[in-house]
């Protein structure tokens, strides 16, 4: 059976649009609430990235850090995260889930045990922020054996030579970081320049799906809609923080935001 991630891209293509990928942090602001958010936004989003919170993140901006610290403070553990995925999948069997996090969490869990648990709970892909190529070669192979996509990150600083090598080794989906920034930075390059880079990468192997992430908000998403997929993370985390601050329900607010995001790329 095809990985649900590929099915999601296929479906979006049939509808002649980019796939919408969301990022929320597991356990933000509680285990139950993050599950409720996933369930609620799955109506609009094509692929759900679920962040594994870590307390020394070297690539996350303040919005995602706030979400991650909040989740850790509320006691989220690796096994709770797998349980959230499993519970979600009970009612959304075909909605793809990608776990995104830092390598130490996998390293401490044990690579093989981690992947087995991914399989049994229904994780379809992994993004490991601080395990770049070629360091990730062995782990990516292990993922492949388990039919889990290991998603390679590509950046504006990645040289052409390196791009070619990474894409040659890559699984069907890759992630292009729009600009030099941590997550949630203000978009400091024009959408046109981002798409130029995107096209360059896409040409290397047109069969591979390339999503764009970092700095994408309600305002900018429409201008990038020609990509295979677009990831929104910090804007969602910010919405959760704002809702909590105003004592509003994050689940409904986030759901509204994701619906709006979706409408911009239709």
């Amino acid at each position: 059976m095809l990985n649900p991630i590929s099915l999601a891209f296929k479906k979006a293509k049939q509808e002649n649009r980019a796939a919408l990928l969301t990022y929320t942090v597991a356990g933000d602001s509680s285990k139950k609430q993050s599950l409720d958010i996933l369930k609620s936004i799955s109506k609009h989003a094509d692929i759900l990235e679920l962040g594994v919170p870590h307390n020394t993140p070297v690539a996350d901006g303040s919005q995602i850090q706030t979400s991650a610290y909040r989740a850790i403070k509320n006691g989220i553990k690796m096994n709770d995260i797998f349980k959230i995925v499993k519970d979600f999948k009970k009612s959304n069997k075909n909605k793809p889930i990608i776990l995104m996090g830092y390598f130490n969490m996998i390293f401490q869990y044990g690579e093989n045990k981690f992947l087995n648990k991914c399989n049994s709970s229904g994780v379809n892909g992994l993004i490991v922020v601080d395990l770049p190529w070629p360091e990730n070669k062995n782990f990516a192979k292990k993922c492949k054996k388990k039919s889990i996509y290991f998603i390679q990150l590509l950046s504006p600083t990645t040289t052409t030579k390196r791009l070619n090598k990474i894409i040659r080794d890559s699984h069907p989906m890759n992630y292009f970081i729009s600009m030099l920034s941590t997550t949630g930075g203000k978009l400091k390059v024009s959408p046109n320049d981002i798409l130029k880079n995107y096209t360059k990468i896409k040409k290397i192997d047109p069969k591979k799906e390339i999503v764009i992430g970092f700095g994408i908000t309600e305002k900018t998403i429409g201008k990038l809609k020609s990509a295979d997929g677009l990831v929104v993370g910090s804007a969602i985390c910010k919405e959760i923080s704002k809702s909590l601050e105003h004592r509003q329900n994050p689940v409904t607010n986030v759901s509204k935001l994701v619906k709006k995001l979706k409408s911009k790329i239709l």
Partner: protein
């Protein structure tokens, strides 16, 4: 796992940057791969370039002030009544600590690569102060990331950084100490690596930063080797080198030139920060058996919980208050070349009292940890043994803490 002879330890990592096959590496976001590779190419070229070495030595000699003194602590030796106790007074260096070596080299590298901005992290404030000094000297704009808790407890160094026109950026995340400062500094570099050079303040971080820092602080042992031969005619038969270990930059630099000697002749003793006696928290991952994990781009022994979250540390000394430890020290521990132990906050304070009572030397709280263990062990040794303690920082920055914990009489007027 084995140390090779005649090859500098910083060059004993494998192709992916791992010492002993498992410590170090480059666990970094994709965006940093290219700037790190560029820095590696530059450093590998320049570290063997005679003109670059001459330039470095010129600044070390004329600006940093090499060599720093090597002195016998006669009164302390008589008081303790065992081994001869000596000190390498690295705090003589311009700015008052060993951090000046790494800062100088990073600024020289930044100039060579055409960068106009440099950023760095700091705990005790020495790494930041020295980077601000060097940046000013070499005409680079400088930002220093420092935990809010450390800003409050190390004010003299914060003032010095500002005086050198550096922007001090307080970090409020996590425990608001060094670990968070390093994270924030790396995050800033992720977003600005096209224009900005990064200096990691110790022998930690992605492999190239470990190497650059180790290469820079090795100045300490180059000087000491000459000074020992001048004093004793040869390297003493029984030499013990005591150094505090936080990230591990001063201790590595203090030991590097003696690496190939048998440990029965030249023993290395690293003293970590054990934290307050009554607290379970500490900053001593090697002493208390922490597991290997990944922190700031490198695999190392690190204080963490079973899930892999980095644990908060506690120590009176901001410079040692770091949950991880250099991959170089992990390698030295597992190959048994160095021995590691810890001293508590209270141990360090009483060592400071003893040293300042008998000698005209004011070690900061960091080397006071090393003095504590050196004094205890020297008692049991005879006078043929030469104990050398690296007094790698001056206590001026600790005056508020010392005043509070020990009383006014232990703090000299400016």
């Amino acid at each position: 796992m084995k140390i090779k002879k005649k090859i500098p330890l910083i060059d004993q990592a494998n192709k992916l940057g791992f010492w002993g096959g498992k410590f170090g590496g480059n666990y970094v976001p994709e965006t940093l791969k290219k700037p790190i590779e560029d820095l590696e190419i530059l450093f590998n070229k320049l570290k063997n370039d005679k003109r670059f070495i001459a330039e470095r030595d010129k600044y070390f000699k004329n600006w940093v002030g090499a060599p720093t003194r090597f002195i016998k602590l006669e009164n302390l030796t008589n008081h303790v009544g065992g081994a001869q106790i000596w000190s390498k007074v690295v705090s003589d260096a311009n700015g008052g600590a060993h951090k000046i070596y790494n800062a100088t080299v990073h600024c020289l590298l930044a100039k060579r690569s055409g960068k106009k901005f440099i950023i760095g992290d700091t705990g005790a404030g020495y790494a930041g102060k020295m980077l601000s000094m060097a940046a000013k000297k070499f005409g680079l704009k400088c930002k220093i990331f420092m935990g809010a808790k450390d800003i409050a407890r190390q004010q003299p160094n914060v003032k010095a950084m500002k005086k050198n026109d550096a922007e001090v950026i307080p970090v409020y995340s996590g425990s608001q100490t060094l670990v968070d400062a390093v994270s924030e500094c790396m995050r800033y570099w992720v977003a600005n690596c096209d224009t900005t050079a990064m200096c990691v303040g110790s022998t930690v971080g992605p492999a190239v930063f470990v190497r650059i820092c180790g290469w820079s602080t090795s100045q300490i042992s180059r000087e000491l080797k000459i000074q020992l031969i001048d004093e004793f005619g040869s390297i003493p038969k029984k030499l013990k080198l005591y150094n505090c270990v936080g990230g591990g930059s001063s201790s590595f630099g203090f030991w590097n030139e003696f690496m190939d000697y048998d440990k029965k002749q030249c023993e290395f003793i690293g003293v970590e920060a054990g934290g307050p006696i009554k607290s379970k928290k500490h900053a001593a991952p090697l002493t208390y058996g922490s597991k290997i994990g990944i922190l700031h781009g490198a695999a190392q022994y690190v204080n963490q919980n079973s899930d892999g979250q980095i644990e908060e540390t506690e120590s009176i000394s901001a410079g040692l208050d770091y949950p991880g430890i250099s991959p170089l020290h992990c390698f030295l521990k597992d190959t048994k070349r160095a021995r590691y132990t810890a001293a508590s906050d209270e141990d360090a304070l009483s060592a400071y009292k003893i040293v300042t009572k008998f000698e005209k030397l004011r070690p900061s709280l960091e080397p006071s940890h090393a003095f504590s263990v050196a004094i205890k062990e020297a008692k049991k040794l005879n006078k043929d043994t030469i104990v050398v303690v690296n007094s790698c920082g001056d206590a001026y920055k600790d005056r508020e803490i010392l005043k509070k914990r020990l009383g006014k009489k232990y703090v000299e007027p400016n």
